[in-house]
């Protein structure tokens, strides 16, 4: 990959390594969740799978979404589900076996769906490689050839400090670098597109209205959930006649 192995200590692409690590954790615990019939264990596997998924989202460069995935999903939604499990965890309902016929049918449907989707995912050649890394790699190669030519002209074998300083950030970008997006999300909400400035002139209005709609929707939904989830006993306690629904 590079002609200066001392600067790039190993040629292992750590982005790829962490991708495989987190995706195996996510997929493995998702599979364990399907196989397990104990609902308490399922909730635990779901937490691990969702946390690994947030790692995958971090690896695509969407840091804000990854952090929100950790905070809202793993910290909020799953805690809600675990409370649901604890409220209904009676001995008969903790572990419920599925009929073999259901398993066979679901596995046939799921397996064919998975085969179809995976084939589609790998069928577009432009999706198989990373443009960003290929471009950076070309940049590094060009810089290296320039430095090698300069070294051959001066008849020396060591890098000068200026050349090393030029090469080091490029190599660091190849190894670790990816675009920052965290602060751009907030600007995108109010309609300023940092990543695609050409959209600004086309009457692009941002995501404030959908954001408000979603927040009001969340409020309505939570009020409705609180209304639905009242237990009978507390309703009786509130109305002394005992005439409550």
């Amino acid at each position: 990959m590079t002609n200066f192995p001392l600067l790039l200590a190993a040629e292992i692409n750590w982005h790829t390594v962490f991708f495989y690590l987190t995706s195996f954790i996510a997929c493995g615990f998702a599979l364990a969740m399907v196989v397990s019939s104990n609902v308490v264990r399922m909730a635990f596997f779901l937490v691990l799978s969702l946390a690994a998924t947030s790692g995958l989202i971090f690896l695509t460069g969407a840091h804000f979404v990854g952090a929100m995935q950790l905070m809202i999903y793993v910290g909020g939604t799953v805690v809600l589900l675990i409370f649901g499990v604890m409220l209904t965890a009676q001995q008969a309902f903790i572990s419920m076996k599925t009929k073999a016929g259901d398993w066979i049918l679901a596995l046939i449907v799921g397996g064919s769906l998975l085969a179809l989707l995976t084939q589609i995912a790998f069928s577009v050649p432009a999706w198989r490689s990373s443009d960003y890394q290929a471009r950076l790699q070309a940049e590094v190669t060009a810089a290296e050839e320039e430095i090698i030519a300069a070294m051959a002209a001066d008849n020396r074998t060591e890098l000068t400090a200026a050349e090393a300083a030029k090469l080091r950030p490029l190599l660091a970008k190849v190894k670790y670098g990816q675009p920052e997006l965290t602060s751009q999300v907030g600007l995108g909400l109010v309609g300023v597109r940092v990543d695609k400035p050409e959209l600004d002139s086309l009457g692009y209005s941002g995501y404030l209205l959908p954001f408000e709609i979603v927040s009001v929707h969340l409020l309505v939904v939570l009020v409705g959930a609180a209304y639905l989830a009242r237990s009978k006993r507390s309703a009786v306690m509130q109305t002394p006649e005992g005439d409550a629904r």
Binding site: A30, V34, T60, Y73, S130
Partner: protein, 111 residues
């Protein structure tokens, strides 16, 4: 160790998203516990979310979705929270009224 030195592309993320989606669908189809079905829905939404974020990433393609994908993923996360709250409330209501959480016995849900 060739595959560890190659950069991953969009396809790899789409494959992981597809796997999570399918496990969620199988979970929804096979679980008898209402909360298990809810967890399957969470997995399905997560798989879709990975696709959104991967298509939005400037790391893989030049003509990416950009911020649109990220914001859609955020909306999906918030709506998944809302959906989980309502579905959990319905499940608790069902449990209170019928003293069971088994969806196979839910064919007489008449309030």
């Amino acid at each position: 160790m060739n595959f560890l030195t190659e950069p991953v592309g969009l396809s790899h993320f789409l494959a992981v998203g597809a796997f999570l989606f399918v496990t969620g669908v199988v979970c929804m189809a096979t679980k008898r516990n209402t909360l298990g079905i809810l967890m399957g829905v969470e997995l399905v939404l997560n798989g879709a979310n990975i696709n959104f974020v991967a298509f939005a990433s400037p790391y893989f393609r030049e003509d990416n979705l950009g911020l649109e994908g990220n914001l859609l993923a955020l909306f999906v996360i918030v709506l998944a929270a809302a959906e989980a709250a309502v579905a959990l409330a319905i499940a608790l209501n069902y449990y209170n009224n019928h003293s069971t959480i088994d969806v196979d016995k839910a064919n007489e849900l008449k309030g």
